[in-house]
């Protein structure tokens, strides 16, 4: 087909100046979509062929379309070309050498231009085209006119209209063509077009990258408005993977990308909450309701016992250090969720192994938003106002009930303590909290410099009085392309300033335990006027609960953190070999934080020291250097595509915390600072490589290898090798399946890989024989002289990597034109050489618990995702996504010996006495299994106090009768995501369900009447005591370990409901506005008797309750 096309944009010249001058003719047959990659390889062998033929060949091989004006490019010129697998760029360079024509790549187009002076004046700009403000959508070089009537055709009907996208926003750059002719235009910046067609029979064809092509018969219409719908089928999603990107259809591993449109909405203050409930195999459980508090993220269960089970989180190419930044509730809370564009979750080893030693627990790659070349300035403002409230509180005896219990169960001296008040202590510590979150962003491009700048301000109050976080964030992204797009630079800088006030969360427990018959205030000014239980001398009784309100109001604990994460990434495609890229990434993550806790002399907790002052500070500095080469080439003659990456990575983690003295309220030193500050550093050096091989577009192979060196291990054990291999088969591309009408996609994947773990929190030198210096409070006297002690530390000179072998088999499918899509994965993860803290044989080491490589653990599971487009009409859509994960965790070895009958390692400390534990790690059982006595019940099913099953039959209840009963981790967990749109309305929901997760109810287990007989004070009791009537006089340590307290905490939680309305764009369609209303933590359906069935670790002991949040949001853009 003859091409009579125009665009004008001489390179490196101001865009606007050229636009005015041209009449352009556009003729593009259909748009096919290709990744814009100037490195595409072309083979041409033509003798005396016209330029047009060469263009056609290039178009065919690469998917590029040429975009030029007939009167500028002599397409009939004859050339002879013999090239084998060379870059397009090279061919074009040769073709236009010694001509005035220059070329540039823009999305899927190769745009041919000549400098302005050489353009023959063929016409004037059409009326109404405000050329200076025009721009094209992403992918098209800036500088395009709106109307381009055919010069040589007769003109009869003038048709005008506006093209919009699925959100109603105007869509510039859409190709509007009179079908079967060369007559066409593209829409302007306002989405408008004007086109003269021959007659009413003309058919207008609207096409745009990523959208379905529409055809409309002109008939008698002169105004035609069109709404384009995204074309999911052809959208070849590019997914960010480690050290590069890959198209979704070429992936061989278990990788899930969640983009902005699917993020959870409402009051989302920390990034991981954006995808809670969205991804199979990923469990995100918030640690509680404190402002900015983090979440426990688990990908496919935990593969470690004592090393970290957190996934590696990579932000714009910078792997973060998971350790908390002091002075904040959570390290991730320092990233503004509003800046995030996508989350990519790498789950199986074939996907994660490129991150080697840090990949055993999965990898989460976060990509932030960027500006795009050619974009006009776009300003977005959004604001969310939220109101949070506590959902429920622990049922405890009220004043009157408590007085009855005291009268019945207390000794005389205790009865004397009871008061006359009716105080609801829990009511006093909670409040309705208001928060606001405002974000403003600017994005666009200045010439060839795309940018995005955003600022955010969050002011979040916690539902516990006094808790608050104020966070200011700023983010700048620049991604210019230089050297004819050979050098792409991506610069990201994020900064945050956060100020928090931390409530004393001890108030939560104190409010449950505090005697309801006592008043809030007393006239005891020595204690700030707050009521406290004191002894005869007026000293607060150490073991009594403190006045919860005093704990909050008399405490001044604030922290401030500054953090910046940034990187600059250079991607250079070699001029002589454009399919070869070199990529250099230099990144950093630095933070400085400090804070203090001041308690006045009147605070009961520090009464005897007349107040206290403690402070802390921390500097962290992590730096990163990655360098890799990537070669990507299609070998047509063997129908193969090869994509090879090889590189090197260096990352260093440094942490410094000065030591401070602890002072009394009046400034006297209570405790000298530690002799040395904390200063610690560890380094990772890695070499990695990856091969992606595609054969016949349907057989895929990925192989990766990473060699990691960690400074945490001795020279002999320092290096670990982590290989992976995966294959995939795109079955629907096979001829024998191409006729199966209902099948739109089918891919089968198999993967294997070995990953490692070396993240031993807080231990950077575990292999060295170190001596540490004692503090001033642990000196030892000889005579009258006190000596600072030097302690030999336990160490394992042979400590090394923990390694996890993963097998994964998966299938991805789409049916009925992708109305039903989904995937199922089956996996096993076996971790050996666990970095475990275990008792060494007594006497063999300088500690009783050594960190060493021992034991193995196994996780097996199945994950499934299903997405349904149930209704897919223009005005009404209903999509439903569901994901489910079954994971089984088992410890398969825990000892260096073959000891089989060992109880294992006790863990899971509980409240009630000190040193009581209710969990155990035992071979053959899930980690953290509950280890309890079997409760005996009477004929009415009521538990009999003090009666447990004598499991070993020795006539005596002892620790030998403990047994393993259930575990905290859910056997099955699910996420549900229904999404509705109706006209301008949209409704989204997120629900999560969890089955057979068990929780030890520590609040209920402390409910015994004996609480009225603690010497000198009274403890309130949860009302569950009225059901059990447990007195707890004797052996409460047995009672505490009854299986009666281990409850099935299966639940269904409505996490999030969000309703949004998008207004029609106004002010000449320049301004978009949408409003949303949102409710979070709406309800929980569960049989669990405690406050919240979702408990990190499985022991429910009064954590910061998750609030119910209602929010209103407004979103403006122009």
């Amino acid at each position: 087909m003859k091409k009579n096309v125009w665009s004008l944009s001489p390179r490196r010249k101001p865009v606007g100046a050229l636009i005015m001058t041209a009449f352009l003719i556009l003729c593009i047959s259909t748009l096919s979509l290709q990744a814009s990659d100037t490195a595409k390889q072309v083979t041409i062998n033509k003798e005396n062929a016209s330029l047009l033929e060469v263009f056609a060949s290039i178009e065919q091989q690469t998917g590029y379309k040429f975009f030029y004006s007939n009167n500028q490019v002599d397409i009939d010129r004859k050339v002879t070309m013999r090239y084998k697998a060379v870059s397009v760029t090279r061919i074009l360079n040769d073709l236009f050498r010694n001509t005035t024509v220059s070329f540039s790549f823009s999305g899927n187009y190769i745009v041919l231009t000549v400098p302005r002076a050489e353009i023959p004046p063929v016409g004037a700009a059409p009326a109404g085209a405000d050329a200076a403000s025009q721009s094209l959508p992403e992918g098209i070089t800036p500088g395009l006119t709106t109307t381009m009537p055919m010069v040589n055709e007769p003109v009869t009907i003038r048709v005008a209209g506006t093209v919009r996208d699925e959100t109603g926003a105007t869509l510039p750059g859409v190709n509007v063509i009179e079908k079967g002719t060369n007559n066409g235009v593209t829409t302007g910046v306002d989405g408008a077009f004007v086109l003269n067609v021959t007659d009413g029979n003309a058919v207008l064809q609207f096409s745009f990258i990523g959208y379905e092509t529409q055809e409309i018969v002109v008939g008698s219409q002169t105004a035609i408005d069109v709404n384009m719908t995204p074309d999911a089928k052809t959208l070849n999603e590019v997914v960010v993977i480690g050290y590069g990107t890959q198209t979704k259809e070429d992936m061989t591993g278990s990788v899930i990308a969640v983009s902005q449109k699917d993020f959870n909405k409402g009051q989302v203050t920390t990034p991981e909450q954006l995808i809670s409930g969205k991804v199979a195999g990923v469990q995100i459980v918030s640690n509680g309701g404190a402002p900015g508090s983090g979440s426990q993220i688990r990908i496919r269960g935990g593969s470690s016992l004592n090393a970290s089970n957190d996934p590696l989180i990579v932000v714009d190419g910078v792997p973060l250090d998971n350790a908390a930044v002091s002075g904040t509730a959570n390290a991730l809370s320092l990233i503004n969720p509003n800046d995030i564009e996508t989350f990519t979750v790498l789950k199986d080893a074939s996907a994660t192994a490129i991150y080697g030693s840090r990949a055993s627990n999965g990898v989460i790659i976060i990509t932030t938003k960027k500006g795009a070349e050619g974009d006009k300035l776009k300003v977005t403002f959004n604001s969310v106002l939220s109101v949070s409230d506590v959902t429920k509180t622990v049922d405890v005896l009220n004043g009157d009930q408590y007085r009855e219990v005291v009268a019945k169960y207390a000794t005389d001296s205790q009865k004397a303590l009871v008061g006359t008040a009716n105080t609801d202590w829990q009511d006093l510590i909670y409040r309705t909290a208001v928060s606001q979150d405002n974000n403003l962003s600017f994005s666009g491009a200045v010439k060839k410099l795309p940018y995005r700048l955003s600022v955010g301000y969050l002011n979040q109050d916690g539902i516990i009085k006094t808790s608050n976080m104020k966070r200011t964030t700023a983010s700048l992204n620049l991604n210019p392309s230089l050297l004819d797009d050979h050098l792409k630079i991506n610069l990201n800088v994020k900064g945050v300033l956060s100020k928090s006030r931390f409530a004393d969360e001890g108030a939560i427990g104190a409010a449950v335990n505090m005697d309801p018959t006592q008043p809030v205030y007393s006239d005891n000014s020595a204690l700030g006027g707050y009521f406290e239980f004191t002894d005869a001398s007026g000293t607060p009784i150490t073991l009594a609960p403190r006045n919860p309100l005093s704990l909050l109001e008399q405490r001044d604990a604030t922290g401030e953190s500054k953090r910046s994460i940034g990187n600059v990434q250079f991607d250079y495609s070699f001029h002589f070999l454009p399919e070869l890229h070199a990529n250099l990434n230099l990144g950093y993550d630095v933070s400085r934080s400090d804070g203090h806790t001041n308690l006045p002399a009147t605070a009961a907790t520090v009464y005897t020291t007349a107040g206290s002052h403690t402070q802390y500070a921390q500097n962290k500095r992590n730096v990163l250097l990655d360098f890799y080469l990537n070669y990507n080439h299609e070998f047509e003659n063997i129908e193969s595509r090869i994509d090879v990456t090889g590189g090197y990575s260096y990352q260093d983690f440094y942490r410094f915390e000065p030591s401070y003295a602890e002072l009394t309220g009046n400034g006297t030193v209570l405790e000298q600072p530690a002799p040395y500050p904390l200063k610690t550093q560890n380094t990772l050096v890695s070499f990695f490589g990856r091969l992606n091989y595609t054969f016949k577009e349907r057989y895929l192979l990925t192989a990766t290898v990473r060699r990691d060196g960690s400074s945490r291990f001795s020279e002999d054990n320092r290096w670990g090798m982590f290989p992976s291999v995966a294959v995939a088969w795109r079955a629907n591309r096979e001829a024998f399946l191409s006729d199966v009408a209902f099948l739109s996609d089918l891919k089968v994947r198999l993967g294997y890989g070995v990953t490692g773990q070396q993240d031993i929190v807080g231990r950077d030198y575990p292999y060295l024989a170190r001596y540490t210096t004692g503090q001033s409070t642990a000196m030892y006297p000889f005579g009258n002289q006190y000596y600072t002690t030097l302690r030999a530390e336990g160490y394992d000179p042979n400590i090394k990597w923990e390694s996890t072998t993963t097998y994964n088999a998966g299938i991805d499918f789409g049916f009925f034109d992708n109305r039903v899509t989904g995937s199922v994965d089956v996996y096993t993860k076996k971790t050996k050489d666990l970095l475990s803290i275990i008792p060494p044989a007594a006497g063999t080491n300088l500690t009783n618990q050594i960190l060493t490589n021992v034991g193995s653990i196994e996780n097996k599971g199945v994950e499934a995702v299903l997405n349904f487009k149930i209704v897919d009409r223009k005005d009404f859509t209903f999509n439903f996504g569901v994901n489910a994960t079954i994971n089984k965790n088992e410890i398969t070895n825990l000892s260096k010996t073959s000891e089989k009958n060992s109880v294992g390692i006790l863990t899971g400390g509980i409240a009630g006495g000190t040193g009581n534990t209710v969990q155990v790690h035992t071979v053959g059982y899930p980690a953290y299994s509950f280890y309890v006595y079997k409760q005996v019940y009477d004929e009415n099913g009521k538990p009999i106090e003090g009666a447990y099953v004598d499991r070993n039959g020795d006539g005596n209840i002892s620790a030998d009768d403990l047994y393993r009963y259930k575990a905290p981790n859910a056997k099955l967990y699910m996420g549900f995501n229904p999404q509705f749109t109706y006209k301008n309305w949209s409704l989204n929901m997120v629900m999560r369900a969890s089955f057979n997760n068990y929780v030890y109810n520590n609040t209920a287990s402390g409910a015994v009447y004996q609480n009225v007989n603690w010497s000198g004070y009274l403890l309130n009791i949860p009302t569950s005591v009225l059901k059990t009537n447990f007195v707890g006089a004797e052996n409460v340590s047995y009672l505490l370990r009854s299986d009666y307290w281990v409850e099935n905490a299966s639940f269904l939680r409505m996490d999030n409901i969000s309703l949004a309305y998008r207004f029609k764009r106004f002010m000449h369609e320049k301004v978009g506005l949408s409003l949303s209303a949102n409710a979070q933590n709406v309800f929980v359906i569960t049989d669990y008797s405690g406050l919240d069935p979702e408990v990190v670790g499985g022991i429910d002991n009064k954590f910061y309750p998750r609030p119910r949040v209602y929010s209103l949001g407004i979103n403006l853009d122009f």
Partner: protein
């Protein structure tokens, strides 16, 4: 230009990366912590390491809490002294506690298992001390000292330190011998690493402790000839006397002559009795007479939630005032004694025998319910008041200055008397009677409590030991030596878990090796099959 610059520097930067230099960064060393090579290169560090060996009995880590020596359990509860006291006292008629802490009730009920926390606290502390002392002894071997250029007086002092470390190791091995019987055996020859130590029989362990004490005897400082707090010859003699007097329990062999002989050596060293009994347990007891070997504490510089803090604050409860014990914080409502002990005294208020230090106000003598603090009398002997009546040095009133008298001369007097009673040839009976009456005269503040030769019986000695040494971690060993610990012929409230008391299996004279070490070391077997 700019572009070229970027391009060039980018390429140059990428290529110029010295991979080997970056790989060298993997040799990270701690910034402040020393390694064993640097520590022992400087003699000035030696005393700091020695101080840690002694401190292991007092404190639980490198600070009050948070930098613990041992982990996996509560730091304060597991302090060496507190763990030792728990096993030696709470198993007996001398003490009960009502706390709902783990398996604490099992200790007094005498139905502990191989999984018992409190048994493990002691076991782990013992082996921590053994490992630390082994390390020091290894690093101060003659060859290493000369290799590091330690000479002259430094060399002499280093050897003295090493002898003291061997004393401390013998002390902990003696605790293992007494409490556990047959245990894993490691010395300085074994090193730090992953291996499975062999188990040593009770007889051989006895012989080892004896041989070590005899070997270091000449190397240690003269009795009362070194700094307060450090072990001297008298400490070694006292430990030998204790080893010998219990020899029949440990090995079946009677060594009473040796017991009397070493007790005599201690006494001959010139210790005198403190005039006022209570002075031995006060904040300034570092200046009291008769303490041979203490575990030292300080309210500001040597602090712990176990140790002496547990002994001073633990028994304060009911209507007791912390201020009367030199403390500002309130008590823990913990330890009391049983009526069996109270009844050993002519009265409970100390007017006749000043060693009857019981708090009776609002308390009942009978222990009907262990969990009720007011059942049973707390013993008030440990105090953070100085002999002048002032509170100890901690401004917060949290941590006492009081030292724990691990060995004191009164015990040696009574050991001498007991050895003579058990074997007439061991020593002189009249001398023995004189020692006993010296204690009684001090207790009664006159001779009215003195006994005659006819009154000097083994049963009297046991009771006198309870009167003199109650709550000083002797009772379990004493009851075993007198055959009264497990038998049904001698019972006390809640012995065996029943209110009136009952006998328990004789295997409970030793504690089991904790399950944690049975799992970690395949060479180990329980001394008594009942623990399997």
């Amino acid at each position: 230009m700019t572009i070229r610059f970027i391009k060039n520097s980018f390429l140059a930067g990428a290529l110029a990366l010295s991979f080997t230099a970056c790989v060298d960064d993997l040799d990270r060393q701690p910034f402040y912590d020393q390694t064993s090579n640097t520590v022992y290169a400087d003699f000035a560090n030696y005393k700091g390491v020695l101080a840690k060996l002694y401190a292991g009995y007092a404190v639980t880590g490198q600070s009050v809490d948070g930098t613990a020596d041992l982990s996996g359990f509560d730091e304060g509860k597991s302090s060496y002294l507190r763990a030792y006291w728990t096993l030696q006292e709470l198993t007996t008629d001398e003490a009960v506690i009502g706390w709902n802490d783990g398996t604490l009730f099992d200790i007094h009920d005498m139905d502990w298992t191989v999984q018992d926390d409190y048994v493990r606290f002691m076991y782990d502390r013992i082996y921590y001390q053994i490992a630390l002392t082994n390390e020091f002894i290894r690093e101060t071997a003659d060859g290493k000292l000369s290799g590091r250029g330690i000479t002259g007086t430094n060399l002499d002092e280093a050897k003295l330190f090493r002898a003291e470390a061997r004393f401390l190791r013998a002390l902990s091995y003696w605790h293992a011998l007494d409490l556990f019987g047959s245990v894993p055996f490691v010395t300085e020859d074994d090193g730090v690493g992953a291996y499975f130590p062999e188990q040593i029989s009770r007889e051989n362990l006895f012989a080892y402790v004896e041989s070590e004490l005899l070997a270091i005897e000449p190397e240690l400082s003269a009795a009362r000839g070194t700094e307060y707090g450090r072990a001297d010859k008298a400490a070694a003699w006292t430990l030998l006397a204790r080893l010998y007097i219990n020899s029949e329990v440990y090995t079946g062999k009677k060594r009473y002559t040796d017991a009397a002989s070493y007790a005599g050596k201690v006494i001959a060293a010139g210790y005198t009795l403190e005039d006022d009994y209570s002075r031995l347990f006060m904040a300034d007891n570092n200046t009291a007479r008769g303490i041979i070997f203490p575990i030292s504490f300080d309210g500001v510089r040597t602090k712990t939630w176990g140790g002496i803090t547990y002994l001073v604050l633990g028994p304060i409860g009911g209507s007791m005032s912390s201020a009367n014990f030199g403390m500002k914080v309130s008590g823990w409502s913990g330890q009391r004694t049983t009526q069996t002990i109270v009844d050993l005294f002519p009265d409970a208020d100390g007017t006749v025998d000043e060693r009857a230090m019981f708090y009776t106000d609002g308390q009942s003598k009978e222990v009907n319910d262990i969990t009720v603090f007011t059942d049973g009398y707390p013993i008030t002997k440990y105090s953070n008041l100085t002999s002048a009546g002032a509170a100890g040095s901690d401004p917060a009133g949290n941590f006492p200055d009081t030292d724990f008298p691990m060995f004191r001369i009164e015990d040696v007097y009574l050991m001498y008397a007991e050895a003579v009673l058990r074997d007439g040839a061991a020593g002189d009976r009249a001398t023995a009677l004189g020692y006993v009456n010296a204690l009684r005269t001090r207790a009664y503040n006159n001779a009215s409590g003195n006994i005659s030769d006819a009154g000097l019986t083994l049963d009297f000695i046991l009771d006198e030991r309870a009167r003199e040494l109650s709550w000083e971690a002797y009772r379990r060993t004493d009851l075993i030596r007198f055959g009264k610990f497990t038998s049904s012929s001698y019972v006390w409230p809640w012995k065996g878990g029943v209110k009136d008391g009952k006998g328990v299996g004789s295997y409970r004279t030793v504690f089991p090796i904790p399950a944690s070490d049975i799992a970690a070391n395949p060479n180990l077997k329980q001394l008594f099959s009942e623990y399997n």
